[in-house]
């Protein structure tokens, strides 16, 4: 629905409970001159102290990067569970915010459109209309990287 600057998004996320981070296949595929998107995903989860539904092939890499409470899941299963009473063991209560990182823009948009009872945040390279909030449109990988770094820095400040 709207764009938030990295600092604004960090403030919003710091104010939320029951955040679930979802990490998709691009986390393994995209690197910013040596630093993988997966590294940023791990950092976000650590800063937010949020559990990670590690989709695609991301669980092993996330654990290696120090992310806690990482569990292998299939992304459509997470979205599916969101429409039922929450019984999934990854976290006790139904997530109130789903944070997507590492999904192609169309995938992120379609997944966000199916989530009815939670906010959705997409930490991608483009604005996602279907998400509650997304990072600003980046015209380059470098800009996207800057946004992610600014977000993580802002999450670090109390």
């Amino acid at each position: 629905m709207s764009v938030k600057l990295p600092q604004e998004l960090a403030e919003y996320l710091k104010g939320q409970k029951n955040i679930l981070l979802l990490t998709g296949s691009l986390c393994d595929d995209v690197d910013f001159n040596g630093k993988k998107l997966l590294n940023y995903a791990a950092e976000v989860s650590i800063k937010l102290n949020a559990p990670v539904a590690a989709t695609a092939n991301t669980p092993i890499g996330l654990k290696a990067r120090g992310a806690k409470s990482v569990k292998k899941m299939w992304v459509a299963e997470v979205i599916n569970y969101m429409r039922h009473p929450w019984q999934d063991p990854i976290m006790d209560q139904k997530p109130e915010v789903l944070v997507f990182i590492g999904y192609p823009p169309t995938v992120a948009g379609r997944l966000a459109s199916a989530v009815q009872e939670a906010d959705t945040v997409v930490l991608g390279n483009t604005y996602i209309e279907e998400a509650t909030y997304s990072l600003p449109q980046s015209s380059s990988l470098r800009q996207w990287q800057q946004s992610l770094e600014q977000l993580i820095q802002a999450l670090s400040t109390p």
Partner: protein
């Protein structure tokens, strides 16, 4: 038959009015089916209700049972309906003016998608059938070969219509029924105001009609036009029949020879052109290539055809300029064939009944005149006559002279690539496969086209990158230049399609499957256009190597064929045998051959319980997959035909996995909640006892992101309620092992599938027993489970566990109450009275 409306079956005289709500006009057909295909004992024990020429609503009870456990998950939800002049209606704010709700609207859009997917096949089947009737007559018997048994191989027709299809006239009746049904569904997809599950019931029906249309096409192609069929070959040949004789890829197209490429669904013009070639003894002088489904049909009568690409990727192939003449028709996805051909001066002969922008209808002109015009410079022609089109293609290709230098030179490539801005990745933002195109382009100045090899493989040729490029780099020309440079390496070998899987081979396969080391059955289909082209071949390889049955159809077989095992130094079709047995890899043929995969599973209800499939969808689907775990992987750019086909497979209880990322463009998935125990109950058909089962298969249509997820999910979805012990432990072994290898942890649902220590794979047994004991509270003594923890929390003996949680003590079970035995229904009624 002694008297109209009655059939004698053994000692029973069956009144057709007790079997069909209105048998008028179809008595003879019903009698034929009952006499040939029914078992009297089954009739005595069960209320058999048939639904000849079934409407969607006739199968609604079955569909709703499935949808209750696997409710549709809609993504890409649309909130505004513009389907009528009363709108637009903003459904997120409330019901539309016609009463339609937001969720139902998603179902309606899904139905529309399935109808569209069904339409092109339906039309293609109709054109083919009409031509066959014209040439061979209505009484022409249809057969798939000497060993053909119509009760096995017109199953998708029989299960919906009740027709015992024997000749072209019967096929005409079946197809007419399907067309009329599709009309109704199409109407509902625009003006319907039904509830969500009713739309889904109709969507399922569209899928079933698609398979019927495919079956009609296959019967005509094989029965009238001589496509090779395994039904003409003895079982002992099947281990290596058909041989790995077909060459594919641009690298196998002989340089210097004129090339005709066939694109789309229209098999007829290819059949006529190639027969013309043979007749004129020109076959050695002209290369025949296939783009899309028709190529796989051609291979079944002319194995010199070179498979070049899928339908989805045809535009990229055409722009390389490899083809002198492109004979094209409608297919599963539209291709800008004229636009691409124009760039490289290839001539287009369009053969569909519908026109194509830019080409005039020349059907009535003389062949000589059309050939002359094409040679003199016309871009193409529209010919609605397959015979004429075939001849024109051959004559033009013989005479045509093209320049041949349509690709960007190395220098031009570097110049164009040099325009790319250092800090710009807008192409990455819009690329459906998220290719790092800009980064690759910027490397061209140092590395040349080598820098683009990886992105070329993953490029779907959609052109979105060019639309956003601020400096107007002709990115697709760079991609094509790369493809052309790599063409010599684009070589593979494959088996041509074999057609059906005959009854004897199928039964032998079932025996092999239940022997104890086979996790299940896998079907692989692929439309191409994935980020990593070789992934589908890897998936096929892993599934076959784990002892699954693996069958490919359609463009997917060409995609699978490109997988090369470096260790074995073999292409995948060389590596595996091809009898219908575990650890083998079969190719059935073009997309339409997918009908055989429905047939073999519907056939099991007859083999396993002597339940006739004729006009009898629900019991056939219900019984067919109790212990036969079939999974279909659809890989690549999704299209409506695959959407409808996936729906048909799910209706017959085959689980479908779609991927990778582009599969998320599908409108809806069918996924369960394994944590909701109320959804996992079946009926013991003999006693009317309601039994809780394992939550399997977890999903019927589910998307995945990567090839590793696809294979792991496949092993998960191969689980079935009535798995024999050995089969269960093989499935669990593959599922758990792949999960651990790829994701570094045990899956979280494996313990739900355990019925005893005999289900546990030997290599993992100690570890899993420890986990069962410590994490799930089971009672274990060394390698033996003493007591199991039911999902209700109770610790119980294995005997009680098997009675309360599994179908082990309910060997004939059903999901649908109307399929209970007469005795069980009486028992229920009695209990109801007592209550």
């Amino acid at each position: 038959m002694e008297k109209k409306g009655f059939v004698q079956l053994g000692n029973s005289l069956i009144d057709l009015r007790t079997v069909v709500s209105d048998p008028r006009g179809i008595e003879d057909g019903l009698a034929e089916v009952i006499e040939a295909d029914w078992a009297e004992t089954y009739h005595k024990g069960f209320d058999v209700k048939l639904y000849p020429f079934a409407e969607a609503a006739d199968i609604a009870d079955w569909d709703k049972i499935l949808l209750d456990t696997y409710p549709p998950l809609y993504i890409d939800r649309q909130g505004i309906c513009r389907d009528c002049s009363l709108g637009p209606c903003e459904l997120e704010k409330g019901k539309g003016k016609c009463g339609l709700e937001l969720e139902s609207f998603q179902g309606k859009l899904g139905l529309r998608m399935a109808c569209r997917g069904c339409l092109s096949q339906m039309m293609d089947s109709r054109e083919l059938l009409n031509y066959a009737i014209k040439v061979f007559g209505r009484d022409k018997e249809i057969s798939l070969g000497q060993r053909h048994d119509i009760t096995d191989h017109a199953v998708s027709i029989g299960v919906l219509t009740g027709l015992y299809a024997k000749n072209l006239d019967d096929l005409d009746k079946a197809l007419s029924y399907a067309e009329a049904q599709l009309n109704k569904l199409l109407l509902a997809s625009y003006s319907g105001t039904a509830e969500t599950l009713e739309f889904e019931n109709m969507t399922f029906h569209a899928g079933s009609l698609l398979v019927l249309a495919m079956e009609a096409a296959e019967l005509v192609k094989t029965g009238c036009f001589g496509l090779v069929s395994s039904d003409d070959h003895p079982l002992e040949e099947m281990n290596n029949w058909p041989p790995v004789s077909a060459l594919g890829g641009l690298g196998n197209v002989e340089k210097g020879k004129p090339v005709i490429a066939f694109l789309g669904d229209n098999f007829l013009s290819a059949w006529i052109a190639i027969n013309y070639l043979k007749e004129k003894e020109l076959a050695e002088q002209i290369e025949i290539c296939g783009l899309g489904p028709v190529g796989h049909d051609i291979l079944r009568f002319y194995d010199k055809c070179r498979i070049i690409s899928t339908q989805v990727m045809a535009a990229k192939a055409i722009r390389t300029g490899f083809a002198d003449v492109v004979v094209a028709s409608n297919g599963c996805v539209p291709v800008d064939v004229l636009g691409e051909a124009r760039r490289v001066e290839s001539k287009v002969i369009w053969t569909s009944a519908q026109g194509i922008a830019g080409l005039k209808d020349r059907t009535e002109d003389s062949v000589d005149r059309i050939v002359k015009d094409l040679i003199d410079g016309a871009e193409g022609v529209w010919i609605r006559n397959a015979e004429k089109a075939g001849e024109i293609a051959v004559r033009v290709v013989k005479e045509l002279k093209r320049k041949g230098d349509y690709l960007l030179s190395g220098e031009a490539v570097k110049k164009e690539a040099g325009k790319c801005k250092e800090d710009c990745d807008l192409c990455f933002n819009v690329c459906p496969n998220s290719l790092l195109l800009g980064r690759a382009i910027r490397k061209v100045k140092d590395e040349g086209l080598k820098a683009l090899v990886e992105v070329e493989e993953g490029c779907t040729f959609c052109g979105k990158c060019e639309e956003v490029c601020p400096v107007n780099i002709p990115l697709r020309d760079l991609i094509v230049a790369t493809k052309a440079e790599q063409a010599a390496k684009d070589k593979f070998v494959m088996r041509p399609g074999r057609g059906p899987i005959p009854r004897l081979e199928n039964m032998a396969g079932a025996f092999g499957a239940l022997w104890g080391n086979c996790p299940g059955f896998a079907v692989l289909m692929g439309c191409g256009g994935t980020k990593y082209q070789k992934d589908i071949g890897w998936i096929a390889h892993e599934l076959a190597a784990e002892c699954s049955f693996v069958v490919t159809t359609g463009c997917g077989s060409g995609e699978v064929a490109q997988y090369y095992n470096e260790e074995e130094q073999k292409f995948i079709f060389e590596e595996f045998h091809c009898e219908y047995q575990p650890r083998n890899l079969l190719n059935c043929g073009a997309c339409s051959a997918s009908c055989y995969l429905r047939d073999i599973f519907f056939h099991y209800s007859r083999t396993g319980a002597h339940i006739s499939h004729y006009a009898n969808f629900a019991p056939t689907a219900d019984l067919g997959s109790h212990d036969l775990g079939q999974v279909t992987v659809m890989w690549g750019v999704p299209n409506e035909r695959m959407f409808a086909l996936a729906t048909a497979f799910a209706r017959g209880q085959d689980a479908v996995i779609v991927g990778p990322e582009s599969a998320f463009e599908w409108k809806r998935f069918l996924m369960s909640n394994v944590y909701d125990r109320s959804k996992w109950r079946v009926w013991d058909a003999n006693t009317a006892r309601s039994v809780e089962t394992e939550p399997v298969p977890a999903h019927f249509i589910v998307p995945v992101e990567t090839k590793e997820e696809a294979v792991t999910m496949a092993f998960n979805l191969m689980h079935r309620p009535f798995d024999p012990w050995d089969a269960r432990h093989v499935k669990m072994d593959s599922y758990i092992r792949f999960h651990e290898e790829n994701f570094g942890e045990l899956p979280d649902d494996w313990h739900l599938y355990v019925r005893s220590h005999t289900d546990l794979p030997p290599k993992l047994k100690a570890k899993l027993l420890k986990e069962l004991q410590e994490k799930h509270g089971w009672e274990v003594d060394r390698l033996i489970i003493k007591k199991a923890r039911h999902r209700n929390g109770e610790l119980m003996s294995l005997d009680k566990f098997h009675y309360e949680y599994s179908t082990l003590q309910a060997p004939y079970f059903t999901r649908l109450p109307r399929l209970l035995s007469k005795a069980a229904k009486e028992k229920l009624a009695k209990e109801g009275v007592e209550k």
